[in-house]
Point group: C2
Chain length 337, copies 2
């Protein structure tokens, strides 16, 4: 019925072990033999049985993608990363599994242990904001489970992908400054997300470089959600001197700001310019279409997973890769009135 490794071995006139060697790209197989075995595998359409490989070889060929489903409201951003990770895993015949893990809550590490005990992933892809949660990283190291991170806070001792969020953020603010805005507000994200800090830092950097003293009233704390964007904007609009532009730390909050602007009867971009970050599909579907920072989420997921797979496959050359961003100027920003 099913073609087994033994069948391939017989067809290629070698021992099962040799077929196993070829299958796993091990050294010490002559080229002639290797080719013969490959041909036999091909001809018979041989597919190794994952469970047998795992049991005997003590690895699972499984990559788990960890995400926080608490601070990430049904995020398109995550879906895109997932898509990239899946593609990378597929290309190396690894399987991929999603693991929601709430960062709030003390059973965080316990849930990680359960994941390991139940599924034995060979490696793990970490997505924001759990790229930087120390107890988690510590446990992964203890267990000897390699991981790659998407946009981690610290780049040292870490593989995965990374974007210069601070520069991206600064670029957005400079765009607003170039349009003549001076009273530029910032709606920041949840404080323990690395992204929040960088984006805020980029905002401050640009403002300072323009010689503008920081007005604390113009920096409002949000939570990366639409609702928090609405709330932050209402607060900003209530100021005696309201901002002429708002830069929100992600698109969901930016859409909240636009919503609140409509509510307050402010026209975007005539009365208020709005900038976002991420370029999720929503950004182009808003009216007016949102000016934002585009990050290649799918590609970031893919590259992070590929870095991880390099490690899993015993190649040593994995690293932290820098990914490009771009400023997408659309219709939500305009010269100050």
């Amino acid at each position: 019925m099913r073609v087994r490794l033994e069948d391939v071995a017989r067809a290629a006139s070698v021992s099962p072990k040799t077929v196993s060697r070829v299958l796993n790209d091990e050294a010490n197989v002559s080229d002639a033999t290797r080719q013969r075995v490959r041909a036999a595998m091909e001809a018979m359409d041989y597919r190794p049985l994952p469970s047998a490989r795992s049991l005997a070889g003590n690895r699972s060929f499984l990559v788990a993608m960890l995400y926080d489903n608490n601070d990430n409201p049904a995020s398109t951003y995550l879906a895109e990363i997932q898509d990239g990770v899946l593609e990378a895993c597929d290309s190396h015949r690894y399987s991929m599994m999603m693991r929601p893990l709430r960062m709030r809550g003390d059973d965080f590490v316990r849930r990680l242990d359960a994941l390991i005990a139940d599924h034995h992933p060979d490696g793990v892809v970490l997505t924001p904001p759990i790229t930087d949660y120390a107890p988690l990283l510590k446990r992964l190291r203890e267990r000897g489970i390699p991981y790659a991170s998407v946009s981690p806070m610290s780049r040292a001792d870490n593989i995965g992908v990374h974007m210069d969020e601070q520069l991206a953020s600064r670029t957005m603010v400079e765009h607003l400054l170039a349009l003549g805005h001076r009273r530029i507000a910032h709606v920041s994200g949840i404080s323990d997300h690395g992204a929040s800090g960088w984006r805020l830092a980029g905002y401050r950097e640009a403002m300072a470089a323009a010689g503008l003293a920081e007005d604390p009233a113009l920096v409002v704390q949000g939570a990366f959600t639409f609702a928090s964007g609405v709330a932050a904007a209402r607060q900003l609009f209530a100021l005696k001197q309201r901002p002429t532009a708002v830069f929100a730390a992600n698109d969901d909050m930016a859409s909240g700001v636009m919503w609140a602007a409509h509510e307050a009867g402010l026209r975007v971009p005539q009365d208020l310019s709005v900038g976002g970050f991420d370029d999720i599909p929503l950004a182009s579907q808003l009216w007016p279409a949102l000016t934002t920072i585009r990050q290649p989420s799918r590609e970031m997921g893919r590259m992070a997973a590929l870095q991880l797979l390099e490690v899993l496959r015993g190649r040593g050359d994995a690293q932290m890769m820098q990914m490009p961003f771009s400023l997408e100027v659309r219709d939500s920003t305009a010269p100050v009135a």
Copy 2:
């Protein structure tokens, strides 16, 4: 190091086979023994090794969720279903795997075969629109792989979940009729999606019930995407007698209609009412917030997976479940001017 089944057996003074029976909820174990074994498993925090179970038992404890990533542009709808499926699988200690499968393209069935050969899922969850692709279903039956569907076209001989989309659609149109609208347009979805047909049928049913003859110019074909919604709306707005209300077959297209309305200088809802379908997060983030049909996607994914798991676990009582919908009246619909 790791606790094996044999260790539990020793602790409970029974044979390994008996522990296996308890683990798999098999019959013919006395209650006393069962409890003793359960206690031992608990005390030792025993976790069966999936690969060993799979290898010996010839099943994978794996459920694959199939989706079409061609017609579903990074859809939040799918992400929600996935979340529900994942929860259900977790609760029964099954693992879950995502499989994108392009319906267009002739290698469709071949890719399914590859999935089976490579991963051996015990069962499959089908999401729209691949719930009704005959060659796929045929192959799954041939291979003896049970499947459950989310919103399949045909409910016969099928397990999973289902919503009365036609009634939901009719409810939306009746809402518009009740507001006094008569020239109500419909932007339909891709024709080989079951949902498109039902939603169109519900529209027609409501219009006919209101005694309105169908105006073919008011029914425009879309493709479930934002861009197709924009295009359809432009076409509708160009009509000598433009509609006073548009019901789009999903929220992405509805957001496209609103976008085009803004573009054309039409105020929503004063000059044009707009209705959608799905209630994705976007719906509440638009200005004005979109009136739409809410379907419990997450719950639908969860229930469909649970039905499938009943079959996989040998219970015979799986079925096609009807899920409720609700009309979410927000700010994009108003009485006709």
